[in-house]
Amino acid sequence: MTLTVNTAAALALGDDALVLSHRLGEWAGHAPVLEEEVALANIALDLLGQARVLLSMAGDEDELAYLREERAFRNLQLVEQPGGDFAHTIARQLYFSTYQRLLYTQLAAGESEFAPLAAKAVKEVAYHQDHAEQWTLRLGDGTDASHDRMSRACEALWRFTGEMFQPVEGVDIDWEGMRAAWLESVGATLLRATLSVPEGPQSGAWTAGAGRQGLHTESFGRMLAEMQHLHRSHPGASW
């Protein structure tokens, strides 16, 4: 049996990984301790590896990464959010890694074209989630200042989390079950970190599912301008 690749699904999952990898790459040389230079680059590399597999399922990885404009990207708005301080980076990572782990666990157990990738990625993602959880605990339950920053970051990014549970066409998993599992996992971590679970709505400034429809936040265009500039300056060149 040959599986037909659902291009829209491969793009959605691939763009998530590509864009977050890029944002984490911005930390290189700026991390609070050397160990985090290693850890953040490591996570960025894992995600870039996932992105390359997924985008290659949908077409040419470089054409897709470098020659689409922002309206054609299908990533979640959560992953395109600028790094902000370390707390924002950790909150973004906690929300996303938990989502990715639940998603890939289900995909790995299924029979779709994404199963082989998911089986490999789920091991990486478990590490990412652990890293984010450990830092959430340290920042939340560290000093008063770190508690405040972590609390603000969790609040600020909360409104981008609802989009994660909008079903992606071609990704055959239990979406409602995932939302419940996500809330339980993230909620437990936040409580252990002496933080409260944000109360605001989980839908963003646009309608839910906006990023998946190519509707992005303002900083994303600037991110793409930087990412794509050199590639676009030399049409047809190989690197």
């Binding site: 290189a28 700026h30 991390a31 609070p32 230079e37 605990l137 060149a237 690197w239």
Partner: protein, 346 residues
């Protein structure tokens, strides 16, 4: 290990000597004999104070160079022109942070703390390699750094794998393996550009033109102006002089440039049949000393970014330390997190 047991006996005899000066002299003789016999000095061995401080200075500067050296390359991570190149570059910058960690660990075996060394870097009391004070202006610079800068670093560092101080020598074995890999990747990047479009070829040539001379300066001042060289060679911290290593590098780089299809920006560069080496033009030592003094193109920017990362990260390190204080009593706490080591030492 007949010599080792002989040294052990000699050291035991020295311990029995009541007279302080006689004991130091006896220790010194044991140390000198161990170095002469190409044995490794280990952290708990006696060593002359000057040997210890020379090593601290050299290893710390080496570690600092890895950390500052992340900046010129990280400058291109977000603009890498293909996903494959982006992955290679990210992995390389990550390796550099790892090299910094090995080297700080090696320095710590000599009785200094990482925080103390970082403090000296941030306050300008310890230096890092002058090469990282040059800017990366185009994508090709990433390749030129890999080929030339890492190439020069490897030429310098391979002999350090046999350095008399064990922890440094062992760190260098690991560092050199990864550096050689980076160097090949840099060469391959430049080759792709050199064989690419005319614009890409020009970009590669321009990068090599800008990085060639600074790379030659990485070997340090000429032998007659190198203040630490003679003693370091006696102690077998160094195995070859600056000028010897520089010559070795030029002889390796010239044929590589030819196979890349790129030229080196030195009209005096010519094969000397008699010497069996390439002759090359005079280095601009005025520029070298200016960069070393802090007046290079990026000195200010590099150190400012490093300080800022450290200062802006202070609250994170404080949080990790506070958390460790709250949660380590009794259970020993969680060992799985990163970032604690540097924080708790603060």
């Amino acid at each position: 290990m007949a010599t080792a047991s002989a040294h052990h006996t000699a050291r035991a005899q020295a311990d029995e000597t009541a007279d302080e000066a006689a004991r130091t002299a006896a220790y010194e003789a044991v140390f000198d004999a161990a170095v002469a016999a190409d044995e490794r000095i280990e952290p708990r061995d006696w060593m002359p104070d000057a040997y210890r401080s020379t090593l601290v200075r050299q290893i710390a500067q080496h570690a600092h160079s890895e950390i500052i050296g992340m900046q010129p390359e990280a400058n291109w991570i977000t603009r890498a022109p293909s996903l494959r190149r982006k992955a290679i570059l990210m992995a390389k910058v990550q390796d550099e942070a790892g090299h910094g960690l090995y080297l700080y660990s090696a320095a710590e075996t000599l009785g200094v703390g990482r925080d103390e060394l970082l403090d000296k870097l941030h306050s300008g009391r310890q230096k890092y390699s002058s090469i990282f004070n040059y800017p990366t202006l185009t994508w090709a610079d990433v390749g030129a750094i890999g080929w030339l800068v890492d190439g020069a670093a490897i030429t310098n560092q391979v002999p350090l794998c046999r350095c008399s101080y064990g922890p440094y020598a062992r760190a260098m074995v690991r560092v050199c393996k990864e550096e050689s890999f980076h160097q090949r990747q840099g060469y391959e990047l430049l080759l792709a550009l050199s064989q690419g479009t005319p614009e890409q070829h020009a970009m590669a040539q321009d990068a090599v033109d800008r990085w060639w001379w600074p790379s030659l300066m990485m070997f340090g001042p000429p032998d007659d102006e190198s203040s630490h060289s003679a003693q370091s060679m006696v102690w077998k911290i160094k195995r070859h002089s600056n000028d010897e290593l520089r010559q070795r590098f030029v002889d390796i780089a010239v044929p590589q440039a030819e196979s890349l299809g790129l030229t080196l920006p030195d009209p005096d560069l010519v094969w000397n049949e008699e010497r069996g080496h390439h002759d090359f033009g005079a280095i601009d030592w005025t520029e070298f000393w200016e960069v070393l003094k802090g007046n290079g193109p990026c000195n200010e920017q590099r150190i400012t970014q490093r300080r800022r990362a450290h200062e802006e990260g202070a609250w994170v390190r404080e949080a990790a330390a506070a958390y460790a204080d709250k949660h380590t009593s009794g259970t020993g706490g969680s060992a799985s997190t990163t970032g604690e080591t540097g924080a708790t030492r603060a």
